[in-house]
Symmetry: C2
Subunit: 423 residues, 2 copies
Amino acid sequence: MIKANDPSRKSWVHVPADSDFSIQNIPFGIFKTSDLNPRAATAIGDKVVDLSILHEVGLLEGLDLPSGIFSKPNLNDFMELGKATTRRVRDRISDLLEENNAELRDNDKLRSTVFHDMESVEMLMPVSVPNYTDFYSSEQHAFNVGTMFRGPENALMPNWKHIPVGYHGRASSIVVSGTPFHRPKGQTKADDADVPSFGPCRLLDFELEMAYITCKENPLGDAVSTSEAEDYIFGFVILNDWSARDIQKWEYVPLGPFLAKNFASHVSPWIVTMDALEPFMVEGPNQSPEVLPYLRYEKATHFDVSLEVGIQPEGAEETVVSNSNFKHMYWNVRQQLAHHTVNGCNMQVGDMYGSGTISGPEESAYGSMLELSWRGTKPLPMTDGSERKFILDGDTVIMRGHAEKDGIRVGFGEVKAKVLPAK
Amino acid sequence: MIKANDPSRKSWVHVPADSDFSIQNIPFGIFKTSDLNPRAATAIGDKVVDLSILHEVGLLEGLDLPSGIFSKPNLNDFMELGKATTRRVRDRISDLLEENNAELRDNDKLRSTVFHDMESVEMLMPVSVPNYTDFYSSEQHAFNVGTMFRGPENALMPNWKHIPVGYHGRASSIVVSGTPFHRPKGQTKADDADVPSFGPCRLLDFELEMAYITCKENPLGDAVSTSEAEDYIFGFVILNDWSARDIQKWEYVPLGPFLAKNFASHVSPWIVTMDALEPFMVEGPNQSPEVLPYLRYEKATHFDVSLEVGIQPEGAEETVVSNSNFKHMYWNVRQQLAHHTVNGCNMQVGDMYGSGTISGPEESAYGSMLELSWRGTKPLPMTDGSERKFILDGDTVIMRGHAEKDGIRVGFGEVKAKVLPAK
């Protein structure tokens, strides 16, 4: 067992029972304050722990960390040290926070510099993203969307159960939770119109996704096998892949989604390591027809992570509209990475790989408004008495995720974004 | 007129009549040698001129250049200085190479350090590419491909004349001319097969494209108009967007090309500035139906750049298989950039934007083997007696491009890559 995952560990830091940031989590993120430049941190309970200072004062000695590694504006260089090193760092941080360890606990002065209230800091993008790929790996989602457009008999494309279908997305517009953004404008064409028109998107949607972040490069031309994939995956975030359905419908044939997706994609700020999620791994579905040999895999590779989506209208209470789970995937992350590299495509450190919308089997577990409101035919009631087919200006969409087992909780916090009116 | 473009200028450096690198060009690139770290350069005649040394010794004084700006492994920071500055730098370099300027001409010692034979240096990727988008903007190409798959009546998709259709590509696998690469492997499915199979691509193709590189960011949420676009475009390279047609056919519905494209894309090493191409601008085609207001533009925006593609079988002479021209575009670069940002998508410095395959109206001007051999039905004869439907192992594909007017030639050199057998 990875030491930091030991369920018997307790921290001297107070961790509320419903906190995502138990001592078994130890995620990584980047924060700043009005006084402090961007730097790396972990989270425990309601606290943010400044890793740059822990390193500076020598509490992370003996881990082969280059000087200043935690004083950078992103985690790319840290992740690039490789999982053997980053795993030891996570273990060491866990030790420092463990209830019987006095090194930090009993050093009042240091503790007051190193600890911040989570509410008092600004979280930033944890990584610089050189490449972004989005998969389409939830069968229920692909089936739902296919059913709406082609009927249930032809819902899944012929390639869907043979290929973890994916496409390249836009890296520049991936932003951290809370970043303001405006309803996009673009071309749309009504079914009964002769020509397209231009204006604000009318069918703005979220997509509930998880994304993994890579920490290792493969040379151009070399494939990564399903068994090697784990070495390449540092951790996960929650991803809201905003989608403009009306723009998408008019633009996407034949080369795929473009302006319908690249105006903004929000991610949660804390990278929960693949290590921390290991205790929550479960078997995936039986894959039939059998996949080609390069997509076969050995170990359990799905993650039992509960996910929820809430909509908070301007000035009103939040309504939870979806309860899904990351385990509702057909293709797993090992298969995605093996497929992506089988032609020699090179991964880079900091790359982000989205799961695609995660829809569970029940209607209440669908991961987008397109599915939840079934193309707008079944509006969702909000607790303030209004209803939603798609997302309105002033709405804040909040996604949360956590794994829980035997009383241990490891979570992501949230990704949250408010839709401002079109400019 | 931009000073460096003055057609009456001559250089004290010998420039062969058929050289792409006249004193009216002054492109930018990155090179290294066995002794020298990567650094910026321009090219004139058969020579590479080390800009880092010119800057070091004070010959680029008064241009607001940060120290070490030309000693970096890419041109991103230089481009980010903005076109007002980079234009003055190009003018100043032109002055230093102008026949009556003695500063460098008469300094034998300096000249011997600054000048290298082009053959003796290794050219590197000129930029680090944060985002890569590929458009699909040549009407003849879209028509040809559409005709093959749907017949001439339905060749163009309904959106094609309203939207400069584009999609996100993979930035990590964009490599400089000469970089070795292997035939990709992947899933394909024969029309008469029940299930897909795995193996080396059998229909490897090139795509003849130009790409522009951006030098300015727009904030997320802000659109760039067609009239502002010029400020964002630093210059152009030739792009070979390698395509695995059989992989593409099986994977691309519904989310677009993925592994069929992302195994390698080669670019020419010298960025020819948009400024240097200004004298070669021509009117584009009449666009009908009329485009939406955000896609209207004022100035001539097409570029009269002759392009050719050669195939050199292993150990044999090259056969030129295509003669096209960058002017054969329906959508121009201003429209592409305005469309890309109209939803608020943010451009970054170093981004690459491909034109899509450039096919002219004659069969000999088609920009891919798919079109030239019409899906393999019309094999192309090689001068060595063999023939080609698609690209074979051992073949080297070479693309060249240059503009010429009133005896002035401004060119790109070449992008060249040899196909090694699948690993």
